[in-house]
């Protein structure tokens, strides 16, 4: 019966080894025949890319093996976006069509998880141009109204304020300024203005 402590110790050792393997850039010499994953990509006329990965083991092509294609991105750290899988044919070639959805430099990689473990091909750098965005942005609505709304509104407001000012000034200035006809006599008394009209005196209740 394997003791719990032994399992824990084993797991710790494995985790430590995994951490350590992160630091190792290369690999120690292998006694077994090396497996190779050759990866290249070719752009077609319609803009899509044909990705091709060839899996060989000790020089012999391997068929019926699953190859995974990934794009390396720098998005909150180093991450890999899965582009899809393909199975190698009799020539050991797995091919997959890749339609990029963003432009610019991209780093692609092919990966195989087999009985010997997981390993990847060399990274492949491609430059994409003319790709249609997957989730395009939409143009703003009513662009003509938006362009004209503020100038028209400001013009109307200016005219209203102008009219208000004209009314007030015309009234006050017109009333305060003595007219030529009044210059000859003094301003009629308020009594006269109020009670002078003959009709008023005859009003009854």
């Amino acid at each position: 019966m394997i003791r719990r402590g032994a399992i824990v110790a084993f797991l710790i050792a494995v985790a430590a080894l995994q951490l350590a393997s992160l630091a190792i850039p290369g690999n120690t010499a292998a006694a077994d025949p090396p497996a190779r994953l050759q990866f290249d990509a070719e752009q077609r006329d319609d803009g899509a890319w044909m990705l091709r990965a060839t899996l060989t083991r000790a020089g012999a092509v391997q068929s019926q093996e699953t190859i995974q294609f990934l794009q390396q991105v720098d998005f909150f750290g180093q991450r890999w976006v899965p582009l899809g899988t393909a199975v190698t044919d009799s020539a050991g070639v797995a091919s997959r069509l890749y339609s990029p959805t963003s432009n610019g430099a991209q780093r692609l990689i092919a990966r195989h998880a087999g009985e010997e473990g997981t390993f990847a091909s060399d990274p492949l750098d491609i430059t994409v141009s003319g790709a249609a965005p997957a989730v395009p942005g939409e143009p703003p609505v009513l662009p003509v109204v938006r362009a004209w709304a503020f100038p028209v509104g400001a013009a109307i407001l200016f005219l209203v304020w102008l009219f208000l000012a004209v009314i007030l000034l015309r009234a006050v200035i017109g009333i305060a300024r003595p007219t030529p006809m009044q210059a000859t006599s003094s301003a009629p008394s308020q009594d006269a203005a109020l009670d002078s009209s003959p009709q008023r005196n005859s009003s009854t209740e």
């Binding site: 709304a149 503020f150 509104g153 407001l157 209203v160 304020w161 009219f163 208000l164 009314i167 007030l168 015309r170 009234a171 006050v172 017109g174 009333i175 305060a176 300024r177 003595p178 007219t179 006809m181 009044q182 301003a187 009629p188 008394s189 308020q190 203005a193 109020l194 009670d195 009209s197 009709q199 008023r200 005196n201 005859s202 009003s203 009854t204 209740e205």
Partner: protein
């Protein structure tokens, strides 16, 4: 006008009546002034507390982010429309009977506009930053449109109050000069702008008042439409309605005319103006009020029908809560007490007494205030995700501030009429002299019959 043997034209009696608030207000004036002033001061204290503690003291929370202050904003600016209607519209339609009440209506419009506009500041979280509306406004924001519209309308209302006041201020300058203080004399002299009643001056005044009357009507419509659009330019159910612009304008006109009736009745009683303002005035105003109320009822029905019939989920929940749910007592109370009863009282011959018409008007004003609350609260508390409604509290701060605003209107009017005549003297005398030359049927609408 009332003629006596000693005062054949009735002009002296008219003048003394118009200046009564200025010269001899009565024993009730100062106690009432103190009482109203106390309420206003208390409201200022409550607002100060709100500034220090935060808006939660007014009963707000995230699930009830608009409430009584926003309803007050709409209601108090709305009642100012009575002035625009009585002064401007009735002037343009040549309704001579409006002459004794225009001054009170215009003054009420000014005071309620200022009080209502202050709620735009009271409901803000950081009112000390409103200067940013000038330094960094966003032209697409309905609140910016609001500020522009209200300030333009305020300028127009001030001009509209001032211009017809010039001849009356000239009378004050000449009549009250010897007995008034130096400051008052200087004020009258300056404000009367050397008015002396010449034909040129009168012609210029008539043109100006006519022009501002024409301009103030679309301005008034714009102000309340913009206020309505601040609600309807959001996607919230219950607010996102195309009828909101006209809806608010009609509601404002309705509640405005109603408040004119109340204010005129109150000041008529207080300053003994019965000889000049009689039952026919109230009947005419009440009829206008009834028509506006009917239109408001029609708009309300149109709203409820279109949203209730199609029953999209969010809109249907608002209709349900108003017609049959938690807001139903308030809604039906508003409909019956605030619209139906005032309409009936205004039109039924048996109710053709001043006190019933004033009752109808009071119910209309109160009902319309409640309706503004019914526009604000259900939508503000309705959930947009899930189905948990918000709850609102009516705290003492919100109630006291509202009462303070209500008290500020009569207080403001009392202060204004200490300085300017309460009746539009010059206008009444001009109207009267014109009436003498008019056929008899025109006179039947006049100011002749005492109550």
């Amino acid at each position: 006008m009332v003629a006596t043997a000693a005062d054949p034209g009735g002009a002296i009696a008219l003048r003394s009546a118009a200046f009564r608030p200025v010269q001899a207000p009565g024993r009730w004036f100062w106690p009432l002034f103190a009482a109203l002033g106390a309420v206003v001061v208390l409201a200022a204290v409550a607002y100060g507390y709100q500034l220090l503690a935060g808006l939660w003291v007014a009963g707000y929370n995230d699930a009830a982010f608009y409430g009584i202050y926003e309803a007050n904003l709409v209601a108090f600016i709305g009642v100012s429309y009575g002035g625009a209607l009585v002064s401007a519209v009735l002037r343009l339609t040549n309704a001579r009977w409006r002459a004794p009440i225009t001054r009170m209506a215009e003054a009420m419009a000014l005071v309620s506009l200022v009080v209502g506009g202050s709620f735009a500041i009271i409901h803000l979280g950081r009112p000390e930053r409103i200067w940013q509306l000038i330094t960094r406004p966003q032209a697409a924001s309905p609140i910016v449109w609001d500020v522009i519209a209200i300030s333009t309308y305020l300028a127009a209302t001030l001009i509209f109050l001032y211009l017809p006041l010039i001849p009356d201020l000239a009378i004050a300058r000449d009549r009250l000069g010897p007995s008034a203080s130096r400051l008052r004399r200087a004020f009258y002299r300056l404000a009367a702008a050397s008015w002396s009643g010449t034909p040129e001056q009168r012609q210029r005044l008539n043109w100006s008042v006519g022009a501002i009357a024409v301009l103030i009507i679309p301005l008034a419509i714009t102000v309340h439409s913009v206020l309505a659009w601040a609600f309807s330019m959001t996607s919230r159910p219950g607010w996102h309605s195309t009828i909101f612009g006209p809806y608010f304008v009609i509601g404002a006109l309705y509640s405005g005319v109603a408040l004119v009736i109340v204010v005129v009745a109150a000041f008529r009683k207080a300053y003994r103006l019965e000889p000049y303002i009689g039952l026919p005035h109230f009947v005419s105003l009440a009829r206008i009020m009834a028509v506006l109320g009917a239109v408001y009822l029609y708009f309300t029905f149109s709203e409820m029908l279109t949203t209730g019939y199609v029953r999209t989920r969010e809109e249907a929940s608002i209709v349900a809560v108003l017609l049959e749910g938690s807001f139903a007592p308030a809604f039906w109370g508003f409909l019956v007490g605030g619209i139906l009863i005032p309409i009936v009282l205004s039109l039924v011959p048996a109710a053709r007494k001043v006190r019933y018409l004033v009752l109808a008007a009071t119910l209309a004003v109160a009902g319309m205030w409640l309706k503004r609350l019914l526009i604000t609260l259900p939508t503000a508390t309705a959930p947009l995700i899930g189905d948990v409604w918000g709850t609102v509290q009516f705290t003492w701060v919100a109630i006291v501030v509202t009462l303070g605003a209500t008290a500020a209107i009569p207080l403001g009017l009392m202060i204004i009429f200490r300085f300017v005549p309460i009746l539009a003297l010059d206008e009444m005398m001009e109207t009267d002299s014109r009436d003498e030359r008019e056929p008899a049927f025109e006179r039947s609408l006049g100011t002749r019959s005492p109550p």
